[in-house]
């Protein structure tokens, strides 16, 4: 087990190194630089600005500096503002995660209920209506749903703020918008799992014992029916921690996604490389957790014989 973990951690370092190197090279290969401007600027001033951040050094020297920073766990400093990348991620990632978690919780709660009812009333109008709604949820992109919700619930009815998270009310619309991404999938997975579960012998037995239908569905069948959803939660969680830049932009949430996208247009190399590395570490870490979980369940994985 220990050897497995050590091996995976060593592999992770290689992955992070590759991600950092690839992002560094690709970013520097992209046209334009951080101090390109449409404003009038003399060559002397441009030169002084680039020199201050070592952008006129050889690519090799810049790369070495970048790696030296990374080796110390320092993701560097923005070259466009007074900001350490570590601080920026520490501040904005939790905001993204909170909004994502709220969205996911709403999706799980609502999606499970929708899926169970749809399975229970299989092929009825209720089923079609709920699954139709789920399909809509999957198909409507958040950049359409978000403004629609704002137009109706915020601008017309005035119930909720149209943007910004100044208080709890500010989280409602972004959470719904983000949650709809997961809601449809969760509802459909639940329905599928439940239909299978409701056909199982133990469920027939429970019904034969004369248990109330409610107990049969929600207590006995759901335990089995929910399993596909649990599998799906892994990738969903990874997606929500990294933030949805579209939702963050529409609702002006100071999360990581929005900061990341701005850095792309600004060619802020240290921020971009830093965020890439953060994402890489996050994904590698989550994968490690998943693999460990598999390992606990299946000795073949743990022994590396799979």
């Amino acid at each position: 087990m220990i050897r497995f973990i050590v091996r995976r951690l060593l592999a992770s370092i290689v992955v992070v190194f590759v991600v950092a190197s690839a992002s560094f090279l690709l970013l520097h290969a992209a046209p334009g630089g951080p101090f390109d401007t449409a404003e009038r600027r003399s060559a002397v001033v441009q030169r002084a600005m680039e020199d201050r951040y070592g952008l006129n050094d050889s690519l090799g020297a810049q790369y070495a500096r970048e790696l030296a920073h990374l080796a110390r766990g320092d993701l560097g400093r923005s070259i466009k503002r007074d900001l350490s990348v570590n601080d920026m991620i520490a501040r904005s990632a939790p905001v993204s995660a909170l909004v994502g978690a709220l969205g996911l919780l709403a999706a799980i709660g609502l999606g499970l209920v929708m899926g169970v009812i749809a399975a229970w009333r299989r092929n009825s109008r209720t089923d079609y209506a709920l699954m139709g709604l789920a399909l809509v949820g999957i198909s409507i992109p958040s950049f359409v749903l978000g403004p629609l919700l704002i137009a109706e619930l915020s601008l017309r009815l005035g119930w909720l703020p149209p943007a910004r998270v100044d208080g709890p009310a500010g989280y409602v619309l972004p959470a719904i918008t983000l949650g709809m991404l997961y809601l449809g999938t969760i509802a459909r997975l639940t329905r599928g799992g439940m239909i299978e579960a409701l056909g199982q012998d133990y469920v027939r037995t429970a019904r034969a014992k004369g248990l109330p239908e409610r107990t049969v569905v929600w207590k006995h069948a759901l335990r089995l029916g929910v399993q596909p959803v649990v599998t799906y939660l892994g990738p969903a969680t990874a997606a929500l921690i990294s933030g949805s830049f579209v939702v963050e932009k529409i609702f002006q949430i100071p999360g990581l996604g929005a900061a990341f996208v701005d850095s792309i247009t600004e060619h802020d190399y240290p921020v971009l490389t830093g965020v890439f590395v953060f994402y890489a570490v996050l994904l590698v870490g989550l994968n490690l957790v998943v693999d460990l979980a598999y390992g606990l369940l299946d000795p073949r994985v743990r022994e590396g014989r799979a």
């Binding site: 334009g32 630089g33 390109d36 003399s42 002397v44 920026m88 950049f143 943007a163 529409i250 929005a258």
Partner: protein, 714 residues
């Protein structure tokens, strides 16, 4: 993003039919202590030297005082300076400072603070993006290039104190300002005891000398002892500036390095520095190239045209007559910065817990990508000018979100141009027959144009045909923002809208076409020459001439570049394509991201490309015409016409403003007739302002004095 905007407009379509766009609270619901303002985007810095974002400008002018500041109309008004004198030759600017200005620490704001601000911006180490604003001041550009020095010793035939420059184009072999000390240095404020040090440089640690006390523009040397040195120490995580007694700097790492130097050309030399220099009428003495060593040289602010005769007077000398110098004194580059705060933390001194300010308001909180809180400054010299207790600046970086926040009443006013284009037909009355009263549109000092790459489209007739084929009046019909169609390069106010006094100053009839740039209200005006406005017959004639001259070299197709992301750029591109198609030119369209567009236009790898230019000062000589000088990095059309160069150079020494304008007008005419650029419209500023907000609005340079805004409960 397109769908986002279109859908966001759904909300606008279902709006109630009132006079105002969105919620207007009753008087007793209003809090007159707070002005809530929707800014667009997150400011990059609040340090005036480092900030370059539009989002930071109004905050910086609210936090930091300057010699002059922005009036409601955007023109400079006295602030730190109460009076000034401008020499007849427009080359010496003397400012007299008020005595009651204070930093938030209680320390008086003096002429030394203003000089320090200029010295800092002119130091290449600061890497200020605003340094070009100080370019008219003598010595600033050579100092930024680190190519000028002051001689510390005689180096025959030059005398100590002379200003010299590197004689070769090569990089300087080393930095003669490097210093070291054999024992540890206690870095502190000027004249402070060693115990009051806030940083220590270990023995042998290298520092860079920035300035020395007792210079032309630096603080006087404290009594009893020799001069003090202001040094920069940067090592690993430490980055500080500060004073140490100069005698403690006993090591000069670059002392023996050889530099090829010569005395600088007279025009860029601060006159009082040249030992024994006579009047300006002396013939140019020879400037032999000699070898000096690092120990003989120092980069020093004494080589700049900045002088502080006493704590309440500052003098700027420019290398040319510079009629536009005065309006530069309210710009970011000369917004005073506090030496003691900058020294301790050169890159982070504007954090709320470190910042020291001199302006009408002080920084209370800065939550990145969320909000900035400004509070009334306890030390500002004109407390009556500020009528609110707080300004809450919301950092909103999405247009729909900003407009929606305004609609629901989360902000009392927005900064200019945060309205999605899909909202404009609603706001301006196109859709419902009458505009909303809180929607304001006014001209901006900026022009939207297409560059023509003269290195590729070398034929003048072809370029002229392109310009003559465009009917600009159609463009505002699909951009909806009240843009002012123009074929003239220099933007301004439509002549039909000028005030009577300005009309007289411009010397034009009310019914004259085009725009005019009012430089001083009722006094001075620049009327740009007419451009190549639509004339299809003329366009076809030019095209025929081009075909005849070019023969087989006539291009089969041309390519027009624009930046993707904004619908208007695409619509304009398609409109231009159709217009050029009508005269028989095949033009393809390419969308790029903005950075690529900037890189390609600078490199000259394009045919025609959409860009624009914004002015900070109502003067075409400093803001618009320099774009067409040979070899300028801003000259993306690679245009170079000796006749234009001659006229611009002839204007430079002229003292009579009207004659100067006439010369500039001639230069602009030569340029626009060559069609290296196709102006399309004058930008407008579009702002939403609730009816209870007073003393806040657009001005032509988009610099609203935020601190003057107030809430009228009525």
């Amino acid at each position: 993003m397109r769908a986002l905007l279109a859908l966001a407009a759904l909300g606008a379509c279902s709006l109630p039919d009132g006079d105002y766009f969105g919620h207007v609270p009753a008087g007793d619901e209003l809090d007159p202590r707070v002005f809530r303002w929707c800014n667009f985007g997150e400011p990059d810095y609040l340090d005036p030297a480092l900030a370059s974002s539009t989002a930071s400008s109004p905050l910086i002018s609210t936090l930091f005082d300057a010699l002059t500041t922005y009036g409601l109309d955007g023109n400079p008004v006295p602030s730190l300076a109460t009076t000034w004198e401008i020499s007849d030759d427009l080359r010496t600017y003397t400012f007299h400072l008020r005595g009651d200005a204070r930093w938030t620490t209680g320390r008086p704001v003096t002429a030394y603070d203003v000089a320090y601000t200029a010295i800092r911006v002119a130091d290449a180490m600061t890497a200020s993006p605003n340094a070009d604003n100080l370019a008219p001041i003598k010595g600033v550009m050579p100092a930024l290039a680190r190519r000028v020095f002051v001689l510390r010793h005689d180096v025959a035939p030059y005398r100590a104190g002379a200003v010299v420059e590197l004689a070769t184009d090569a990089e300087p072999p080393d930095d003669p300002n490097r210093r070291a000390a054999s024992r540890a240095l206690a870095v502190r404020d000027l004249g402070a005891a060693p115990e009051a040090a806030y940083a220590t440089v270990p023995a042998g640690g290298e520092v860079t000398l920035v300035m020395t006390s007792g210079g032309r523009a630096t603080l006087p040397t404290p009594a009893g002892g020799g001069p003090w040195a202001y040094v920069h120490y940067e090592h690993a995580d430490v980055d500080v500036l500060g004073w140490v007694p100069e005698r403690e700097l006993d090591g000069e790492p670059a002392a023996g390095v050889a530099f090829a130097i010569r005395r600088v050309a007279r025009a860029d030399q601060p006159d009082p520095l040249e030992p024994g220099s006579g009047s300006g009428s002396d013939p140019e003495p020879p400037r032999p190239v000699v070898t000096a060593h690092g120990r003989d040289l120092v980069r020093s602010p004494d080589a700049l045209g900045v002088r502080v005769p006493d704590a309440r007077t500052i003098v700027f000398e420019t290398s040319q007559p510079t009629p536009f110098f005065l309006p530069l004194t309210d710009n970011r580059a000369l917004r005073t910065t506090p030496i003691e705060a900058v020294s301790r933390s050169p890159r982070h001194w504007t954090d709320p817990d470190r910042i020291v300010t001199s302006g009408p308001m002080h920084l209370a909180a800065w939550r990145p990508r969320d909000a900035i809180e400004l509070v009334r400054s306890p030390t500002y010299w004109d407390p009556a000018a500020v009528r609110v207790e707080r300004i809450r600046v919301l950092s909103v970086d999405d247009q729909a979100a900003a407009t929606n926040l305004y609609f629901t009443g989360a902000c009392d006013a927005t900064t200019a141009n945060v309205i999605p284009s899909t909202y404009l037909p609603v706001l301006n009355g196109e859709q419902r027959g009458r505009p909303y009263k809180d929607y304001q549109v006014s001209p901006n000092l900026g022009v939207y144009f297409a560059w023509v790459n003269t290195k590729r489209l070398t034929n003048r007739h072809l370029r002229r045909a392109l310009a003559l084929a465009i009917d600009r009046t159609q463009i505002p019909r699909f951009t909806h923002g009240g843009e002012i169609p123009t074929a003239q390069l220099t933007p301004g106010t439509p002549i039909a809208q000028l005030a009577p006094a300005d009309l007289a100053a411009c010397g034009v009839a009310r019914d004259a076409p085009g725009v005019a740039l009012v430089m001083t209200a009722g006094e001075l005006c620049y009327v740009p020459p007419p451009g190549l406005d639509v004339d299809l017959a003329a366009a076809k004639r030019e095209l025929a001439l081009a075909r005849a001259e070019m023969g087989d070299a006539f291009p089969k197709t041309l390519d027009y570049r624009y930046n993707a992301g904004a619908e208007a750029h695409k619509q304009i591109a398609e409109y231009l394509q159709a217009a050029w198609g009508r005269i028989g030119l095949d033009v393809t369209l390419s969308a790029q991201d903005f950075n690529s567009l900037l890189a390609d236009t600078r490199a000259g790898t394009y045919d025609i490309a959409r860009l624009g230019n914004q002015g900070n000062v109502a003067d075409t000589e400093s803001e618009f015409l320099p774009l067409f000088r040979c070899g300028s990095p801003d000259n993306r059309g690679q245009y170079c016409n000796p006749e234009f160069e001659r006229l611009m150079d002839e204007a430079k020494p002229m003292r009579d403003r009207r004659a100067r304008n006439a010369k500039l007008r001639e230069a602009e005419r030569v340029m626009i007739e060559d069609a290296p650029v196709i102006p399309l419209y004058v930008y407008t500023l579009k702002t939403l302002i609730k009816p209870y907000v007073r003393d806040y609005g657009n001005n032509v340079i988009n610099q609203p004095p935020l601190w003057r805004a107030w809430i009228d409960k009525r």
